[in-house]
């Protein structure tokens, strides 16, 4: 009986995450100050900030890993569940990938690692098998690996496995805390593409919601619908990548985040030419095309103007 009730609550996924005036204190110091925030369902939101700005704390708060805070945290317009002592409980429908995902592997085989969340939820074995078969190709892991020990995999495989074992539970909100840290540019791109494919996967009624933490804006600008900028425990901006990079790049400088090279080039060009430039978007290709036009660099592929 209890189990069926449990299932119902997970089936009815609550969406929409709102923070109202949320502050978090640790050892007498504020680690987050009066955060107001609404995460749009179906959007990829990226959380940017310098080390120590409070990014991880904000993410843990959303997952319910921070037992005490002031202000209000609403999930689907209901306040976060608490235990008898008033401490927040972990939100089961949110998936959370911690920093250095490969350090969180703990099971004896790849298969058990993948199925952990499903087993905890009480899914049937055949269901679990089906979901694993479904997910494996998407994360670029082969079926031969299933009976192997996860600790023998390569670094990249481990990271993908750790992320896959969170994805498999089909979370309504997926939070990733710097999953691309210490990856080479190619693997970084692969991982981001994989996540984007998962987010926009067909067959689901709506796009999935992602909160992606990073300290490098150039990694995520292209993928994000929205960017949150956190600086010294406060939320400084909540904008699209275009708005933030093209119109409000001073906010980034103020928070100590280096601008992408293409944007730096754009600003330099503006200074030298005395003109104000308006690239179509903050994508590197668009910015570079704008810069090239000013300097009138003849280019062979410059014919295709719009895509």
């Amino acid at each position: 009986m209890v189990k069926s009730i449990k299932k119902e609550t997970t089936a009815e996924t609550r969406v929409g995450w709102e923070l109202h005036d949320v502050s978090v204190q640790r050892s007498g110091r504020d680690v987050l100050q009066r955060i107001n925030l609404t995460l749009t369902p179906g959007a990829w939101t990226s959380l940017i900030g310098k080390t120590g700005a409070g990014k991880s704390t904000l993410a843990s708060l959303l997952k319910g890993l921070i037992p005490r805070f002031t202000g209000q945290y609403l999930i689907g317009s209901q306040p976060i569940a608490t235990d008898r002592k008033g401490k927040s409980l972990v939100v089961p429908e949110i998936g959370f990938v911690f920093q250095y995902p490969e350090h969180q592997i703990f099971e004896t085989t790849v298969e058990r690692e993948l199925s952990f969340a499903l087993r905890m939820r009480g899914d049937s074995m055949s269901d679990i098998q089906k979901q694993i078969q479904n997910l494996l190709p998407k994360v670029g892991l082969s079926e031969d690996l299933l009976p192997q020990s996860p600790l023998l995999l390569s670094g990249g495989q481990k990271r993908r496995l750790a992320i896959a074992s969170v994805l498999i539970a089909n979370p309504s909100l997926l939070i990733l805390d710097e999953p691309t840290a210490a990856l080479d540019p190619v693997s970084r791109r692969q991982l981001l593409d994989l996540l984007q494919d998962w987010q926009q996967e067909k067959g689901t009624e709506q796009k999935r919601t992602v909160l992606f933490i990073s300290h490098r804006i150039e990694d995520v600008a292209e993928y994000s619908d929205r960017i949150l900028l956190l600086h010294e425990r406060k939320l400084l901006a909540h904008q699209t990548a275009n708005e933030l990079l093209l119109d409000h790049s001073e906010l980034l400088i103020q928070s100590g985040i280096p601008l992408p090279e293409s944007i730096q080039l754009l600003r330099l060009t503006e200074q030298l030419s005395g003109m104000t430039l308006h690239p179509a978007s903050c994508r590197e290709a668009d910015v570079l095309r704008e810069v090239e036009q000013i300097w009138q660099i003849p280019q062979e592929g410059a014919k295709h103007e719009s895509f």
Partner: protein
């Protein structure tokens, strides 16, 4: 709980206290003497006197008492097990409490020692104290480094445990409320923990060797250890208080 909210044996905390400025050898010898005295104690009055001494030492370290107390929490299962053991097979609850008290009297000064001594200084201290043994071809330097690394890794390993527990919790693990489940959970965490620790040890070995450790020439030191006035005073105070504790233990057989 946030790991930085508590103090675990092996962690160093930067403070300006009278304990921090002492020579590591003074602290090590003092600690050793205190251990011996605790082992010799027989009566409640002796235990109370020793507890008072520990309390004063902890106060001198300028680290809040609550940090020390919270650092004891991971020890709780061990303590409960010894209590249980003595209750069932030993000489009753009194003996259990005595052992528990004794553990406290040893762990708390040990945390104070590591919290107020830099790992490198500790290594140097152990090394110079053991120096005479090198005449007997004991590899003193390696031995000292080994001890220090072992101590230094206690908090790191606890952090690892915390990380894996958090990852399990985030993926829907709920510990059942019975006596056995914490133990089962611990065993499940133990395997990945051992593997990551062995791997880390391997990397550390390489890193140490890459810095030309053990090429046979012996290490030079930047800061030489010197006994200064405070050390003489501290030694005197330690010997004096330990004698008092011992005297109380002998004179008030309660």
């Amino acid at each position: 709980m946030n790991p930085s909210d508590r103090l675990i044996v092996g962690q160093f905390l930067e403070r300006k206290s009278s304990l921090h400025i002492l020579d590591p050898r003074t602290k090590l010898i003092g600690f050793l003497l205190f251990m011996i005295v605790v082992m010799l104690l027989d009566t409640k009055s002796g235990y109370i006197a020793a507890t008072l001494f520990v309390f004063i030492v902890l106060q001198l370290s300028r680290i809040p008492l609550t940090l020390y107390i919270r650092g004891l929490m991971p020890l709780l299962p061990v303590v409960l097990l010894t209590l249980l053991y003595h209750l069932l097979w030993g000489q009753g609850i009194g003996e259990g409490i005595r052992i528990f008290w004794r553990i406290l009297l040893m762990v708390l000064p040990a945390s104070a020692l590591t919290a107020t001594t830099r790992p490198l200084q500790m290594a140097q201290g152990i090394e110079t104290l053991l120096k005479p043994l090198s005449k007997l071809r004991v590899p003193v330097e390696q031995f000292a480094l080994m001890i220090v690394i072992a101590i230094r890794f206690i908090p790191t390993i606890l952090e690892d445990i915390q990380r894996i527990r958090l990852a399990r919790k985030a993926r829907g693990f709920q510990s059942k409320r019975n006596l056995l489940s914490p133990m089962i959970e611990f065993i499940q965490i133990l395997v990945p923990l051992l593997i990551s620790t062995v791997r880390r040890a391997d990397q550390l070995t390489l890193a140490i060797e890459a810095r030309a450790y053990g090429d046979g020439r012996g290490r030079t030191v930047f800061r030489r250890l010197l006994f200064k006035k405070p050390d003489a005073l501290a030694t005197l105070l330690i010997v004096l208080s330990l004698s008092i504790i011992f005297a109380i233990d002998m004179l008030f057989p309660y």
